[in-house]
Symmetry: C2
Subunit: 224 residues, 2 copies
Amino acid sequence: MSRASARDRLADAAFALFAEFGYEQTTVEEIAERAGVGRSSFFRYYRSKEDVIFPDHERLRQQVAARLATSNQATAITAVSDAVRLVMLYYVSEGERARHRYRLTSTIPALRDREIASVAAYQRLFREFIDGWIDEGARSALRAELMAATVVAAHNHVLRRYLRDECADPVSEVDAALDQAIALFGVDPRAVSTGTTVLAFETPERPEEVFAALRRVLEPRAKT
Amino acid sequence: MSRASARDRLADAAFALFAEFGYEQTTVEEIAERAGVGRSSFFRYYRSKEDVIFPDHERLRQQVAARLATSNQATAITAVSDAVRLVMLYYVSEGERARHRYRLTSTIPALRDREIASVAAYQRLFREFIDGWIDEGARSALRAELMAATVVAAHNHVLRRYLRDECADPVSEVDAALDQAIALFGVDPRAVSTGTTVLAFETPERPEEVFAALRRVLEPRAKT
DNA sequence: AGTTATATGGGATGGAGTCTCAGATGGCAA
DNA sequence: TTGCCATCTGAGACTCCATCCCATATAACT
């Protein structure tokens, strides 16, 4: 019936209704109705009502895991950097939708808890990776734990700034924040590669929108 | 009818039924029935089915906040240490119950997410405190964020070891882990007070059980 | 046209969580 | 004792989330 897929229509309808009437006040039935599908179909596309807000978390998590998996000890720091940048770039590519989600997760406890849980999943990925590939000399489970915690905290700090519109260049800011986090552990910062990084990732957004968003982000850096 | 309060009976019934039949397979009605109260009363004592597993999280969080609130810049590190120890001691005082909970939160995603969310609440407390009282010179929101993340990660690392029975002396281990975390930030470790720390806190457990648990924990230290 | 695979909606079901109301309980004073 | 008040309790109805089953539709291929 519509051009957009049923899955996208459902997400759009959900965001619109949540913004207008609030999260608890909106029922799944109403979301399905506005999207022009049956109630059953909603749960075909999304496991739960909360899920419609984070449609691609699992996919993004897998991409992070995949990036980390293609690394070895020599390139471990770069892999962590890339993985963190991957997540940040995904949010940037989402544009306004990420800010809508942030507004919801800031106010609705159920959604905030879910967001926090997915962040914890990232932290576990990083912890396992760091435990395996970094700190071969000073290896200790506690160090890996602390390092993963700071990596994720650094990313989230900049991400929240970006979502609150307090930061014009989230990509270079997150790079800087990550450098600061890793420097705490006395890891040689020269092990971090510099220059242009090319990443491949998938997003439901249309390419032109992604390019526009990335251009907005990258242009201030291109001037230097 | 029974000696124990309805609230305690409900928690006991819930833990027993979860252990025997699993979390999803147990209904609130069955918990209430075993506890000898009506279904309505369950929701009087606990906001939700998940809540019965973490009866005192909110109270413990308030105790942490209270300990931090009684500090100033000069004693900030000690306050953080005490607050972390406070949480660890609470789990220790719970004895086996904490391990039962750990088994549940390790396997049931819904309960794990809830646990993670409450950890995030602690992290926020520490972040706000650190942002206000530590790093007056090198003050930066990012540093506070990273420091709070490592404080919580250090605590959780030792707590999980304790709950998995991999650690005989969780209190001194958490002190050591915290020292390691704080040392990352170049804070003067001499600012951390040493010696005996006396803490006051409340717990639903009976005093003799608390004393026994604490004695088990403190005795290995007393020998030194 | 026939057949298989996949997508969809309807309806039933069960359980979580909220709400209201009626009855029970236990002081406490007259 | 009686009456009054506050608090606690359980029953039942209700909404909504989430799952499940099944009948139908659409498409795709033979």
